[in-house]
């Protein structure tokens, strides 16, 4: 098992089970295209391929995009339980196939392609902004539709609305990227994913249960020990003397690493946290908590407090020489100059600010601001 498969990650970076049939359909579709290309002259298959290849580049690109979308949506029908949504997939597949026919028979290709592909992209944007997290098949299909739409919007040389067409492509591309992020960060709640982690957060698979009385006590004891051990580090100068790379604290979750404590064989030792977390307060830095890390990739952290102390890793993280630059985008890219780290070691935060609503999980910026009197 590869390390990332130990975790539940965002659908953005995988093909969900319901979409495996669509992936298979796309592979079969590619093979069918190759089969038509190899057909003997005079056959119906050869006629279809010839008709396609004789199209000029604009309509050919739009036709390919609509055919891709039709095949993918047809595959989605077979991957889901029959309901209103699958009817929608079937209808999309049918209208895309109709669009292919219209363009290949010399119809108004720009109007048809722009209408159908633009409509499908708009429906996707509505679904994602509404809380559906996209997966790889969804993004691949939308990418194909985007290229087809760009061909339809791409202006003739010297056309009157040339700039409008180019602006349209830019706007649709940016909107697709932003709406996909919105869906990915909505943590599921869509039609089939259930609750899923946001992009770049990898959670271990586990049973959703309440902590036992022993686990509650163990978590409280761990928290008490960490609060006690971190007390001297309220002063960043003391932390710097202990080897923490403090740097400029300008954010609400500034992480200061101590390279000496990494890979030192001590696992979740309150006296040796690998990282301290500070917030930039009005009157100077405020110690928010610590972050403990496992020494090796794929090692599982000790869940001392059961479901109260769930460790996590980060997947698809983009880094460059300037530090972390984000997560791999829905359309597959880190910002240029950054590389993608597939998975990190496991880690857990322990927050020491009084009254933290989640002492081992995540604190919102709003809560931190309120707590430090920002």
């Amino acid at each position: 098992m590869v390390p990332v498969d130990q975790y539940l990650i965002s659908p953005l970076y995988r093909i969900i089970d319901e979409h495996q049939a669509a992936a298979a359909f796309l592979v079969i579709g590619a093979l069918a295209f190759w089969w038509a290309r190899k057909a003997s002259p005079g056959t119906r298959r050869a006629h279809l391929y010839t008709a396609f290849s004789q199209l000029s580049p604009g309509p050919r690109t739009a036709t390919a995009a609509m055919a891709f979308s039709a095949v993918a949506h047809l595959g989605l029908v077979f991957g889901h339980e029959p309901n209103l949504l699958t009817l929608g997939y079937l209808a999309t597949a049918a209208v895309m196939a109709y669009g292919v026919r219209i363009v290949m028979t010399g119809g108004r290709w720009r109007r048809w392609s722009a209408g159908l592909l633009g409509g499908s992209l708009a429906a996707f944007a509505i679904a994602t902004v509404g809380g559906t997290a996209p997966d790889q098949i969804a993004m691949l299909t939308k990418l194909a539709e985007l290229i087809g739409l760009a061909a339809a919007l791409s202006p003739e040389p010297g056309a009157r609305l040339a700039r409008a067409g180019t602006a349209g492509i830019v706007i649709v591309t940016a909107a697709l990227s932003i709406s996909s992020w919105a869906g990915a960060f909505s943590s599921g709640g869509g039609h089939h994913h259930g609750e899923v982690p946001p992009p770049a957060v990898a959670l271990p698979y586990g049973v959703d249960r309440n902590p036992t009385a022993d686990e509650i006590l163990a978590a409280a004891e761990l928290h008490r020990r960490v609060v006690e051990a971190l007390a001297p580090y309220r002063d960043p100068a003391v932390a710097a003397q202990a080897g923490y790379k403090i740097g400029d604290i300008t954010t609400l979750d500034h992480h200061a690493d101590n390279p000496d404590f990494k890979k030192d064989g001590r696992i979740m030792d309150p006296a040796y946290p690998e990282t301290l977390v500070y917030a930039a307060g009005v009157n100077g830095p405020v110690l928010v908590g610590a972050m403990f890390q496992m020494d090796e990739l794929g090692d599982t952290g000790p869940a001392i407090g059961g479901p109260l102390t769930v460790w996590h890793a980060h997947d698809h993280v983009c880094i460059s020489f300037t530090g972390i630059t984000g997560a791999v985008s829905p359309l597959g890219a880190c910002s240029l100059g950054s590389v993608a780290i597939p998975i990190t070691n496991e880690m857990i935060h322990v927050f020491v600010l009084d009254g933290a609503p989640d002492r081992f999980g995540e604190l919102s910026d709003d809560w931190i601001k309120q707590a430090i009197g920002f």
Binding site: V2, V4, S56, P57, I137, L143, E156, G326, S335, G337
Partner: protein
Amino acid sequence: MSEGMCMTSPQLLLRIILIVQATLLGVSGLESLVLGNPLALLIPGLATAGLILAIRRIDRIPTWSRRVIRMVEWTVLVTAAINLLLAIFMNQRLLEPVVIATQVVAPLAVLGLLKRSITPPVVPTRKDLVHGSR
């Protein structure tokens, strides 16, 4: 005849892919700003600006524009190769389909289309020289 018959094929496709690619480069660079890492915007910003300038000259594709496009595409390809090596080294799944499409297929397509877009200089043949005055 359909509406797009008079377009030159490699240049049209090149233009489409470059516009989408330039937008994606710009958007992914802006994402770094959200994380408070403005320095990371430098390379995608330069690449986006370079592609925009190249797109504006796509009909002629001067030498500088070819160089800019090739530089950006090779940077994307080399980054994808590093990502692939990292995935192999860390015993992870290889590149996802969308990554393959945008980080491998798209730059390779651009480089191929760029090659086809450049009209070779007309070199007179021996036949032209002999019969050219007719």
